[in-house]
């Protein structure tokens, strides 16, 4: 029982990170039709900006506070990078989807090379507050506290995104734009502002995933973002492009299946199980669980 609880909570924590990445990917694709391969760069920037700024914030004596401030800087960097990518790289290539995909792939590779050039290719120990390494006993299982933080962060993000989409003017524009972008502009709305905002939101969420991934794995390396991005893409497709709640459900399923398969079958079968789930979903529901509606 304790093993099952540990696997479940670890799977949910992993799913939480997938969701944080997939939510931005899904909104960006749903609204703009852009397959953003540079999303991995947002994760990397969030992780490394947090790691680097934590080491420079000696003036803050408290470890948890220093980590929170550093994470805030990481999220800010993710938001700025997201907005810049949209304005500088994506906007000039509007409606040219192949070129947009290529330029995001190029940016992703360039950023990984840049990080390797500055800080080297090897893993770095991530500065995690002590409390997160400690465990809490649940039904006999000793659960690392960071799992709760990761799950809570995803739940709060899901709630915040849902509220944003449902109750704000920009949320309304994004929901409508996911359905029919041309008609939104035909109502007099400058949809480009919504594009930039969605990229910035995607950047923040991915950077948050990066911060939490550093905690989850205990270390950071230049390729961490890319590894997570692959599963986030799968989550996005299973959930339905453009659907936040679809991404949330798919992320939980992918995280849990990965954990269960790796433990109960054999190590490494988790990835295979996820690919099988993707294939099954595409066969049964080609548009994913909740296609093309931002909610």
């Amino acid at each position: 029982m304790d093993t099952f609880v540990l696997l479940t909570l670890t799977g949910l924590a992993l799913g939480a990170m997938y969701f944080l990445i997939a939510s931005g990917l899904s909104l960006i694709y749903g609204l703009m039709g852009v397959l953003n391969f540079a999303h991995g760069a947002f994760i990397t920037v969030g992780t490394y900006a947090t790691w680097w700024s934590e080491s420079k914030l000696d003036a803050i004596g408290s470890d948890p506070l220093r980590f929170v401030v550093a994470a805030g800087i990481g999220l800010l960097c993710g938001a700025v990078l997201g907005a810049l990518v949209e304005i500088v790289l994506i906007r000039p290539l509007y409606q040219r989807h192949i070129e947009q995909a290529l330029v995001t792939v190029g940016l992703s590779l360039a950023l990984i090379a840049l990080v390797q050039g500055i800080w080297g290719p090897t893993e770095r120990i991530y500065p995690t507050p002590k409390w997160m390494y400690e465990t809490t006993s649940i039904l006999g299982a000793q659960i690392p506290n960071d799992r709760f933080v990761e799950i809570a962060a995803a739940v709060v993000t899901l709630g915040a995104l849902t509220a944003f989409l449902r109750y704000t003017r920009y949320g309304l524009i994004i929901r409508a734009g996911v359905e029919n972008r041309a008609m939104v502009t035909a109502l007099g709305i400058d949809v480009k502002k919504a594009f930039t905002l969605v990229f910035a939101i995607g950047g923040v969420a991915a950077a948050l995933a990066g911060v939490l991934a550093g905690v989850y794995f205990g270390s950071v390396d230049p390729h961490q973002g890319t590894s997570l991005l692959i599963f986030a893409f799968i989550v996005t497709v299973i959930g339905g492009l453009g659907s936040i709640t679809g991404s949330a459900v798919a992320a939980v399923a992918v995280g849990l299946i990965q954990q269960y398969a790796n433990y109960y079958a054999s190590s490494g079968t988790g990835d295979l199980a996820v690919v099988l789930l993707l294939a099954l979903t595409l066969l049964v529901k080609p548009g994913g669980l909740a296609p093309k509606v931002a909610h």
Partner: protein, 239 residues
């Protein structure tokens, strides 16, 4: 002798290419201030493309002047900001949004005319919380027209508002458009000649991407041979 009033909308030498097709081949026409100008023609002659090019939804070559200001080259949202309302063919309501949200999305400033919209279409108020995708075709058309009427427009571009509607709803839509035309200039694409006869003062006929008639709607529709020749239908009335 007084000068004739300058047209509200002036289109000159408008060309549109969609892929390899030269859909609009240098059309020119004027829309006078006030009343309804019908844009007519057989299927596939470029009526919807004309409306979409005026909205900037397809990029034309040529000149589109609204009240003295050039619209061509402006992005769509700025064209709308100049006072161009649009009711698209096939309605294009946002199916996942409620009726109220569909209308809210169209608000351009603080003076949204909900009173007018709900007076013309009381059903929209009753169904405010209903998802637009679950409405009937006629109700969706009300949403599409209501969205366009929420703001004051210099000109309203209405593309086939009665398409696919039951006869009773066609009459209802025609009544609303007639009412609206008392205060707003309208360029109306319409296949139902009964509706055109009822509300249009002027008519422009397109054929194969060119203007083949521009003048009085009554003069056109009262000549069955001309109607048959230009539009390919009997000119007897509504169909």
């Amino acid at each position: 002798m007084t000068e004739p009033a300058a047209p509200l909308l002036s289109v000159r030498d408008l060309h549109v290419y969609l892929g390899p097709s030269h859909v609009l081949q240098g059309i020119s026409f004027d829309v006078p201030r006030g009343g309804v100008t019908a844009l007519l023609g057989r299927n596939g002659v470029g009526k919807t493309t004309t409306i979409r090019s005026l909205m900037g939804l397809v990029r034309p070559r040529g000149s589109v002047v609204l009240d003295g200001a050039e619209l061509n080259k402006l992005p769509t949202h700025k064209i709308v900001g100049r006072g161009v309302g649009y009711v698209p063919e096939d309605r294009d309501v946002f199916a996942g949004l409620t009726v109220k949200e569909n209308l809210e999305l169209a608000e351009r400033n603080g003076s949204a005319r909900y009173d007018l919209v709900y007076e013309l279409f009381p059903e929209l108020q009753e169904r405010a919380e209903q998802k637009a995708g679950t409405l009937s075709g006629g109700q969706q058309q009300m949403v599409a027209i209501g969205r366009a009427l929420l703001n004051e427009n210099r000109i309203l571009l209405v593309d086939e508002p009665t398409k696919g509607l039951a006869p009773l709803l066609v009459t209802e839509v025609a009544r609303v458009l007639e009412h609206v035309s008392e205060t707003e200039t309208m360029l109306l694409v319409e296949q139902n000649l009964g509706v055109v006869r009822r509300i249009a003062r002027d008519a422009i006929v397109l054929d194969a991407g060119r203007v083949t008639y521009a003048g009085s709607a009554e003069a056109l529709l009262s000549d069955p041979d001309r109607v048959r020749g230009l539009l390919g239908v009997a000119g007897g009335g509504a169909h």
